[in-house]
Subunit: 126 residues, 2 copies
Amino acid sequence: MYITIDESDRRPIYRQVADEIKGLIARGELREGMALPPVRQVADDLGVNLNTIAAAYRELQKEGLLKVRHGSGALVSARRVAQQNDAELRKALRASLAHLVLAGLPRPEIVEIVNEEIRQLFKRDR
Amino acid sequence: MYITIDESDRRPIYRQVADEIKGLIARGELREGMALPPVRQVADDLGVNLNTIAAAYRELQKEGLLKVRHGSGALVSARRVAQQNDAELRKALRASLAHLVLAGLPRPEIVEIVNEEIRQLFKRDR
DNA sequence: GATATTGTATAGTGTCTGGCGACAATCGAC
DNA sequence: GTCGATTGTCGCCAGACACTATACAATATC
């Protein structure tokens, strides 16, 4: 499972991992019922402690995306999060778009990038 | 200056504030040369300590968006951030879009929302 | 059942966040 | 120019958080 973490990213590691897995689920690379690698394996790959990955899994379980089972592994249990605050989602989107603007990207380029990302997200939806 | 903070948002307050101000600058509501309200005023409005707001201002100064002057206030000093990691920006965008997908929004609606947000961002650019 | 594999719990360490109070720089009235 | 008001800064503290190491518990495999 291709996950990376970033030193310069100010989010905690466990949340970076959780967000990456969310991305994999969103774009259908991880589908309902599929097993995730054991926490120790991911932890070794990334060079962090197993508890850090376990925290990420628990986070996703709390949101209803994973079913984590003591002794066996973790499974993708849904491709939908239960209740999601719409305002929160928009705020995050707005913030990331604002950063593109502040980076100096012109409007057409931003539109281009966004469309490309959306395309990637729905690539596997047929 | 209309800023809000959100208890349920897991980002620290000072970063929420910094991001909101970034948004105001990005969409041109705060323009270069304009003064920001004193840290005490913002702090009182939001019910937090002045140091929390000061931390937000310092954050923005570090990114080159503000000029903070001891004794006088803080000014918007640019509408561009100096160096910005492109990969980081895309990652944030990707994450926020993924969350929309996981919330169950259909592709057309996501496109709609994104276009609306982009429009808002460039509303004042003529 | 024994052993390996997998997630969980606990405890320790360092960092981050946010509050309080004192300090320092600047401004404005006079 | 001085003084008071206004503004940002600093040092310290308490609590929460992030991450690690190690021991424990549940499940799978044989």
